[in-house]
């Protein structure tokens, strides 16, 4: 080629090619930007991973449930304003509770269709509820006795007992014509993608847990049409990368961001951070496995500081020693709320929450003097406040180890502050920052007992750990309460109080709302008194949205809750704005720069070669280097 067209020709050709490439890149603008003056695509970044192929029977991640919210309907979808079950936009148009709440009759809307066009009938409903027991939400239908389709639009459900959660639980109606072909075991491992067929406003067109997942509008949707023509869910491993893309206009929203983003986002007028309430809490959990064992554990491991962590005065003293308001402000940028009981303030609109501020025995406000008083009353001999000394009782120092998760920097910060406040009142906490897995292992260490009855019981080896619990449902705090019941497999503190268990069970079956709330609060007070968990804050869920590309987000519950992810209705209501174009000049610059450099090197190379041909290579002797 060189001989035919010469060096100048090569350089010229390179420049022409470079210009052509540059033009191609210039013209390769975002199709969204070219095609429309308003946004049609809603792009959301997320940090978890879509799990289990978005199989409703086995998935558990929040982002996967976001997809389920858009794709599937439950019989009674949550009301936008209250999150309570509503017939407004639901497959069920009417329902009747009878037989003391033990029988529910549901009436489906007529002519419902799945996103693939097949009819949705009561048979789908019956199949879905009957088979829920084979999935990871099996607890939801634990009260189910029988379910029967009376007609294509009528379903009757018989319960063993009334269950206050059942109407609101996320037990979606699934297409039997797809799932019904599978055996009960296959339900857990089946790959429903793609498309993932549902009756909600969207269906999943393609799924990529490590990349971008695409949702398209359901053409047979019975509800109101929204403005979104395509939802793109983009996975990020690095939270900062998601935030950066949001700032640059490559995303419209981020699901479950970080509270630490707040200061940085103050400089961006087009970005809004929403702190949605958390339905769980952060807590310091103590090893409460009794020395004689309980339904879930045989005994605490010998390494546990039982005399300290199982001493009521120590735990109650810690309750008074912690400055929860400061934690919420300093660690969570004021986006969290101080925790006052097992029932989060997220349940305020539903009437469940109370902060017990009128109860002097369990209103654990920050009061180090009171903390010291509690320790003295408990038989601990303590040095004066802030002296740096450690309380003693029967020769045992008030000292234990608190495990913190290295993966959660905010929990680490919480733990360090708790350590400092505890030290001020004479309780020495040794911090052990470790992996989630190490904490799990410390909790779930199986007992060495030779008794066959103890086969699946634990012998927990931790003193205390700090982490969060997000098991709560927006419609009911029961799942937060359940985990402290005797024998619950999630009772990570191993605490067992029969009265507490009875109260929470009774509350679950109580139809009178006020009585139910009273029962839950009584159980809550018991937990506050015995303090197997020392609650710190109700940490929020963070949502971040751009306000220019899409706007009109509506919180659910109204004025308080999440801007999306609670109900499919939320995304149907948002309005399009101006799309932000992604148009980069980098490639043309690089291509042209590379072409210029090529020309330069060709020229310089030629010059250099001519020079080298004229003069011999410099030897070591010439350069003044003595050979070895």
């Amino acid at each position: 080629v060189k001989h035919v067209i010469g060096r100048a020709g090569i350089v010229g050709l390179t420049l022409v090619l470079a210009s052509a490439l540059a033009f191609e890149v210039f013209s390769a603008r975002s199709p969204q930007a070219r095609a429309s003056t308003v946004s049609t695509v809603w792009r959301m970044g997320y940090l978890d991973q879509i799990d289990q192929n978005a199989n409703i029977f086995s998935a558990s991640e929040d982002i996967t449930y976001f997809i389920f919210t858009e794709v599937y309907d439950i019989p009674l979808n949550p009301s936008l304003a209250t999150t309570l079950p509503s017939t407004r936009y639901s497959p069920v148009s009417r329902y009747v509770l009878s037989d003391q709440g033990k029988t529910i009759t549901y009436y489906l809307r007529p002519h419902l269709r799945w996103s693939d066009g097949k009819p949705l009938t009561s048979a789908d409903f019956v199949w879905s509820w009957e088979h829920n027991q084979y999935g990871v939400s099996s607890e939801y239908t634990a009260a189910l006795k029988s379910i029967k389709a009376l007609s294509p639009t009528e379903v009757v459900v018989h319960l063993k007992h009334y269950d206050a959660r059942l109407l609101a639980d996320f037990i979606p109606i699934l297409p039997e014509h797809i799932w019904g072909k599978l055996s009960n075991t296959q339900l857990l491992t089946y790959d429903p993608c793609c498309p993932i067929v549902g009756s909600g406003p969207f269906y999943v067109k393609s799924l990529n847990p490590n990349g971008t997942t695409v949702l398209l509008p359901n053409p047979y949707f019975y509800g109101p049409r929204g403005h979104i023509k395509e939802i793109l869910l983009i996975h990020y491993d690095d939270p900062n990368a998601a935030l950066r893309d949001l700032e640059l206009g490559n995303l419209d929203a981020v699901f479950h961001g970080l509270t630490t983003w707040l200061p940085a986002l103050r400089h961006y007028p087009h970005i809004r951070l929403w702190a949605g309430p958390g339905y769980g809490f952060d807590e310091v959990a103590f090893n409460m496995c009794p020395p004689h064992g309980s339904p879930i554990c045989t005994r605490p491991s010998p390494s546990v500081h039982v005399d300290v962590v199982q001493n009521l005065a120590i735990r109650q003293a810690l309750q008074w020693a912690i400055n929860r308001a400061a934690l919420a402000k300093q660690v969570y940028n004021g986006l969290a709320a101080p925790a006052t009981g097992l029932i989060s303030n997220a349940y305020t609109p539903l009437g469940y929450y109370t902060n017990f501020k009128n109860d002097p025995s369990i209103d654990y406000r920050y009061d180090p003097a009171k903390s010291l008083e509690v320790l003295h009353a408990g038989g601990w001999r303590c040095p004066p406040l802030n002296s740096g000394g450690v309380c003693m009782r029967h020769g045992v120092p008030a000292e234990f180890t608190l495990m913190l998760r290295s993966a959660d920097l905010q929990e680490e910060q919480e733990g360090l502050r708790v350590q400092s406040w505890a030290r001020a009142v004479g309780i020495k906490i040794n911090i052990e920052v470790t992996s989630d897995d190490a904490i799990d292992t410390a909790i779930d260490t199986y007992s060495n007992s030779s008794n066959p009855k103890d086969r699946y019981k634990y012998e927990p080896s931790y003193d205390a750990f700090l982490w969060d619990w997000n098991g709560g449902d927006p419609q009911s705090p029961d799942y937060d309460m359940d985990q402290l019941q005797c024998g619950s497999s999630y009772a990570d503190s191993m605490w067992c109080n029969q009265r507490y268990t009875a109260l929470t069970n009774e509350a679950l079956q109580e139809r009178n709302f006020h009585k139910r709330v009273a029962l839950l609060h009584e159980a809550e007070k018991l937990e506050l008194y015995y303090s197997p968990y020392v609650l710190t804050v109700y940490s929020p869920y963070i949502f971040v949205t751009r306000t220019d590309t899409w706007h009109g987000y509506r919180r659910s519950p109204a004025g308080f809750g999440w801007p999306f992810g609670m109900s499919w209705e939320q995304l149907q209501l948002i309005q399009p704005g101006r799309p932000v174009t992604d148009h980069y000049l980098g490639a043309p610059i690089v291509v042209l720069g590379a072409a210029a450099l090529t020309g330069l090197f060709v020229g310089l190379g030629r010059l250099r070669r001519r020079r080298l041909e004229r003069m011999p290579l410099e030897t070591d002797e010439d350069a003044g280097v003595t050979p070895p």
């Binding site: 199709p31 847990p209 690095d238 950066r244």
Partner: protein, 319 residues
């Protein structure tokens, strides 16, 4: 033939060792059962036990190992605990992306590193030599994430001339040509980050190797007979290439394991990101699959390097 057979056998032995080691390494790292329990607060204990059994985690280690070995040898890398997808398909999806990113960076670093190394050796003990070596070592010493963040800040945030991350524009549509360019545009910053990060070792190795060869008698002879400088340098380079080939081969082996930090920083959906996600979720099957593929790549590339040695240097063949 005997040399090839011996080396292939040794490589196969190493691979078997990796296969065994791979299994036990991740079992030591953590317990996915506890994670399974905590991640599914609405599952009954019976359902949790069913999932544990379904994943084979209720069996003892020996039985699990036998199943793992049988599956792996039959080409089945299992199913991810987290995504529920076959590990082989997850690797198949991530591998091309990693090849684009880490492969390009390794290729560029090899070419540029070789050229700069020769250049520095030809100008040894001069300011040019110092500049080349020091600047390449400067980038080599700089952590990848730091260098990447600087590039992102400069070119994506401040100048806005490159995308800050991702594999392609979202939504990704358009002609094939424009999509290829789009991917190239997204790859550029991470490729530069990786290239600058690994360039130093190539420069240093090549420089040292060429400088050593330039002391040899045959170079003096070449100069004495009046060969032009660039031809002498060409001969020196050819004779100095062996250590460089070994380094390149090993580094090409590492290509398949991805670059965890850079891929995470730039949200590049390759093997590195896959590994990071799998570690976070204690996803044994994915971790085993990724490490097996990466280890196999390193072993095979080492084997190729060994054989290339024999091809390039007759003395090795004789030995």
């Amino acid at each position: 033939v005997r040399v090839v057979a011996a080396k292939t056998l040794a490589a196969a032995g190493t691979l078997v060792f990796v296969l065994v080691f791979n299994f036990f390494l991740f079992r030591v790292a953590g317990n996915p059962i506890a994670l399974l329990v905590r991640d599914n607060p609405h599952a009954t204990p019976a359902e949790i036990q069913r999932i544990i059994a379904l994943r084979g985690l209720n069996k003892n280690y020996l039985t699990q190992f036998v199943i793992y070995a049988r599956q792996t040898l039959s080409g089945n890398l299992g199913t991810s605990f987290e995504t529920g997808q076959p590990v082989s398909s997850m690797i198949a999806a991530a591998l091309p992306n990693t090849l684009i990113l880490v492969g390009s960076a390794t290729f560029l670093a090899t070419i540029i590193g070789c050229w700069l190394g020769v250049y520095a050796a030809a100008h040894r003990s001069t300011r040019k030599d110092t500049t080349v070596v020091q600047s390449s070592l400067f980038f080599y010493a700089m952590p990848d994430f730091w260098l990447g963040m600087i590039l992102i800040f400069l070119f994506a945030v401040a100048l806005k001339i490159f995308p800050s991350g991702g594999y392609e524009s979202i939504p990704a549509t358009g002609s094939t040509g424009s999509r290829i360019l789009d991917v190239a545009q997204h790859a550029l910053l991470p490729v530069i980050t990786l290239t600058l990060g690994i360039l130093g070792q190539y420069v240093v190795i090549m420089r040292a190797s060429v400088a050593e060869v330039l002391q040899e008698d045959f170079i003096t002879t070449a100069r004495a007979i009046g060969l032009p400088g660039h031809r002498v340098l060409n001969r020196a380079t050819r004779n100095a290439i062996l250590p460089f080939v070994a380094l390149s081969a090993i580094n090409f082996g590492y290509v398949l394991s991805g670059a965890v930090v850079v891929e995470t920083l730039f949200s590049w959906p390759g093997m590195g990101l896959l590994t990071d996600n799998a570690v976070n979720n204690l996803d044994y099957p994915t971790l085993q699959g990724v490490f097996l593929v990466a280890s196999a790549a390193v072993i095979i590339c080492n084997l190729v390097a060994d054989l290339a040695y024999a091809f390039l240097d007759p003395r090795v063949r004789t030995k």
